[in-house]
Point group: C2
Chain length 156, copies 2
DNA sequence: GTGCTACTTGAAGCCAGCTTCAGGTCAAGG
DNA sequence: CCTTGACCTGAAGCTGGCTTCAAGTAGCAC
């Protein structure tokens, strides 16, 4: 814990790839904690980088911050996730990822059958009612995230 | 176009499953158009139901409203999509769906390799940098939509 | 001590896709 | 005519995950 080992927010931002605004936000949300200089500036321990790597991986998987926080909070003494922790958490997320893939595949199959029929029936079309999982989620339910929706050039 | 064939917003809401607020919103956004009574209330032609079925199907596929509007606008005379229209548009969306499935599968494979190593390396971890497609999309990029993120009970 | 950059804060803004609300109007049945 | 319920509008709110802004302060090199 030599103070010379502490990192500024700019350094953490640079090394982690998260902008400072995100780091401050994560702190407000209780995902990170920092020490402060006498003047009030943030100083980060090196272990925060590993925590941020964990956060990045979770976010990539689509895990929300609430759940990331829960995962981190379950670690004794708020320690940085080690290999075993990561393994346990990622295994549970892996199941979810499988579910999502299944849901998309089912949707694709439904679409395939619809391309042929073109019915768009409110009552019978599989695409219109592609199963309980999606139907449950309300009228505005979307299967795909915004970022994947606008394919930049090729897919139009 | 007998006026007795026109539907009120409540009827359309009931038959389409979209709440009135969504129907009004779609109209503001230029996805639907309506006629009005002398008193200013909306009256819908029956064909709006087919248009709404199209919108529902597109939304289920994750197509954004902008793109749905583009699709509908391309139809001559703003007519309701028929089988051929639906077939053409859904085929282009089908390609995108494939891409999304690919992306998720790649992510899952990356996760699998990570579960074993537990490295969380900022530089080398596949999950941390799961490929250009995701990396391009910025720090907050999420592969999965909010609705799929909180699995109700089982996956925790 | 001077000057520069990096840092601090709270509040507000942004995105999509709606929902909700307040306050008022319409349409139709009795 | 009167009541009742469905409808109207514009504005504001909601979600999540940040970003942006303005105004002020810290830390470090010279």
């Amino acid at each position: 814990m030599d103070t010379r080992d502490l990192l500024t927010i700019g350094e953490v931002a640079h090394r982690s790839g998260f902008p400072p605004s995100a780091l401050r936000y994560y702190e407000r949300e209780g995902l990170l904690h920092t020490t402060r200089t006498s003047g009030g500036q943030r100083r980060y321990e090196r272990s925060v980088l590993r925590r941020l790597a964990f956060i990045r991986a979770a976010r990539t998987l689509g895990v929300g911050l609430d759940e990331v926080r829960e995962g981190l909070d379950q670690l004794p003494d708020g320690r940085t996730p080690n290999k075993a922790d990561w393994s346990r958490l990622s295994r549970s997320w892996r199941g979810r990822l499988d579910e999502q893939i299944q849901a998309l595949v089912a949707l694709r199959d439904g679409l395939d059958s619809c391309i042929g029929c073109g019915c768009l029936s409110l009552q019978r079309c599989r695409l219109y009612n592609p199963g309980d999982r999606v139907a449950e989620l309300g009228p505005g339910a979307r299967l795909l995230p915004p970022m994947l929706r606008r394919t930049p050039a090729e897919g139009v």
